[in-house]
């Protein structure tokens, strides 16, 4: 495979495709810094197989064409593994490229079900839409909701998640009041706000990102909606509370994999991240951090960067310690449990904090 074109002695390079331009560009830096932090730590510990790790970042602009060029660039640069992938739509066309070049992919964020194609080298570190939707339904049942609604933003991940949610809610016998779609990037969501206010579902699941999420919560509350506002992992960010405004987040909860502050010793991690990045960690900083560590561990275990060995080593990981809990991959290379919990917003700081681990 092309995975070892970089030679046997130089640094082991990890490629990361993430959005640094375009509407999703905020997430690129979070991911890059998370990964960089892991690499710095590993290198300080002597690297992997005695070689240093190195991160190569390329912009995918959340766009297929740019992503393909970026992926080809990474392949040409001879990276040994890929630890990127935020937008499912941009990640999809890169799968065959990395696959052909024999480069394993640990995808930290993108989690559309479409990514699960049975390719040997593709691993999803983020729970899939199906798993996340299951957590959402579980929570809805738990709080005794009988009618639910779903709102998505017409992007791949969001529509996927909303569809899974609606399907599973139906199976669970919940009454789905409506399913709506909004256009991201606008300001006015009074159409869904009005709909929420008039139909008053017990719980509404917003599967898009935090900016629109914050606006919708606010507008729906103003319009008179007072049910539970459940949001997906794309909305988990401290900015959510800021945008919604004080007093608007009391009923907001989210499905999410664990956040650093829910984990012991995370304060240190946040501190070193902040030192490196100059700002607090954001969505998918931890997953990217973990993705790097998974790869490093697998290479260490395999004793080489040979594609097949590394893939086998990743498959063999059992209970590897990550922020999201002990990690083991299923046969289709997704997380075994998904590890979703319910987080709520701390009224003081606006940060998301653990509310319900869905275990009881």
């Amino acid at each position: 495979g092309g995975g070892d074109e970089g030679g046997e002695d130089g640094p082991i390079t990890l490629g990361m495709l993430a959005p640094f331009s375009g509407s999703e560009s905020a997430f690129g830096a979070y991911m890059q810094n998370g990964a960089q932090l892991a690499i710095d730590e590993l290198n300080a510990d002597g690297g992997v197989l005695g070689r240093d790790l190195e991160l190569v970042v390329e912009d995918d602009a959340c766009d297929a064409t740019t992503a393909v060029a970026g992926a080809n660039k990474l392949v040409t640069d001879g990276v040994h593994a890929s630890v990127g992938g935020y937008c499912s739509g941009a990640t999809l066309p890169t799968l065959p490229i990395f696959d052909e070049a024999g480069i394993p992919m640990i995808i930290p964020a993108a989690n559309s079900n479409e990514l699960v194609q049975g390719l040997p080298g593709v691993f999803l570190i983020n729970g899939t839409g199906t798993q996340q939707a299951a957590a959402a339904v579980q929570y809805a049942e738990k709080i005794g909701a009988t009618t639910v609604a779903a709102i998505d933003d017409a992007t791949s991940y969001s529509a996927d998640l909303a569809a899974s949610f609606v399907e599973q809610a139906g199976e669970a016998g919940l009454d789905v009041a409506f399913e709506a779609t909004v256009t991201p990037g606008e300001n006015d969501y009074s159409a869904v706000a009005t709909q929420l206010a008039s139909e008053q579902p017990d719980l509404v699941y917003w599967t898009g990102y935090y900016q629109e999420g914050g606006l919708i919560v606010r507008q729906a509350t103003d319009a008179g909606y007072d049910g539970t506002f459940l949001v997906g992992d794309g909305s988990v960010d401290a900015k959510f509370a800021e945008i919604a405004g004080p007093g608007y987040t009391d009923n907001v909860v989210a499905t999410f994999t664990q956040t650093p502050d829910m984990i012991e010793g995370a304060d240190d991690w946040i501190a070193s991240y902040t030192e490196l990045a100059g700002e607090a960690p954001g969505p998918y900083s931890t997953q990217s951090y973990d993705a790097v560590r998974v790869v490093a561990q697998a290479i260490e275990d395999a004793g080489s960067t040979e594609t097949d060995d590394v893939i086998a080593a990743i498959e063999a990981l059992d209970g590897f310690d990550t922020f999201a809990g002990p990690l083991t991959f299923t046969d289709d290379h997704t997380l075994s449990g998904g590890g979703f919990v319910i987080v709520g917003i701390d009224p003081e700081s606006g940060a998301f904090v653990l509310e319900d681990d869905l275990q009881g």
Binding site: S23, G28, T181, N187, D188, L215, R218, D222
Partner: protein, 296 residues
Amino acid sequence: MMQLIWNGLIVGSFYALVALGYSMVYGIIKLLNFAHGDLYMLGAFVGFFTLNAFGISNETSIPLLVVILLLSMVTTGLIGVGIERIAYRPLRKSPRLAVLITAIGVSFTLEYGVRQIFGPNPEAFPIRLESTGFDFAGMRITASQLVLVVIAAALMLVLAHIVERTREGRAMRAIALDPQGAQLMGVNVNRVIATVFFIGSALAGAAGVMAGAYYGSIDFLMGFIIGLKAFTAAVIGGIGNLYGAMLGGLLLGLLESFGAAWFGGEWRDVFSFAFLILFLTFKPTGLLGARVVERM
């Protein structure tokens, strides 16, 4: 139903405000100013920056908003004039599409310039309008919505009057038709065009601040969609005609409101664009656009 209309009118007012400036600029130099939406964004960020510099956040004071509004209007107005001076004026005698492309370049520059300064994340606007409302004739109306609509309507009427009835307005229209001919009438073309850019940009800036305060969140790409919508509104109304821009904005707001209600949010834009296309097929110059009669 009534609620749909009211929602549509609110969104429409924003479109109309931005479309007004768009239409004015178009009206005078026939430029589809793709950077116009970004001046809206810039207005919001000027407000954000100023308030942040004074450490203000989560404020609801209306007088403060007015101060910030004026400040942003002046700043974006001047920026607009600067853009015209640097990027558009040298191209006045070039093919129109050249300027259009320059405008797209300016748009990129403004967007990514702001991104480099303020970062890619959306920011919460430090001033929030009170959003307690009352019910009236089946609509839920908030005070801030009323303020918004009144301000928008007033600005539009004043401007439309200026352009249609005054000497300077006549000069603007004359420049639109034949800049050289206008010079021969003694019109200081550069000054009038700069004025138009100032007014148009200031309006966009005002809309940006108002949107920030009304909705609460701003980001560096916020001007893109509204720019497109304003363009659409201006065209529906008959581009270059200010009353038309106003009507077009409101109509587009209503179309979207009803489109979303009838066909669902995902088909909303399809509905409004399809309507627009059908409409233009029968009325090729928009609602109020002048038919240019060409002599053989």
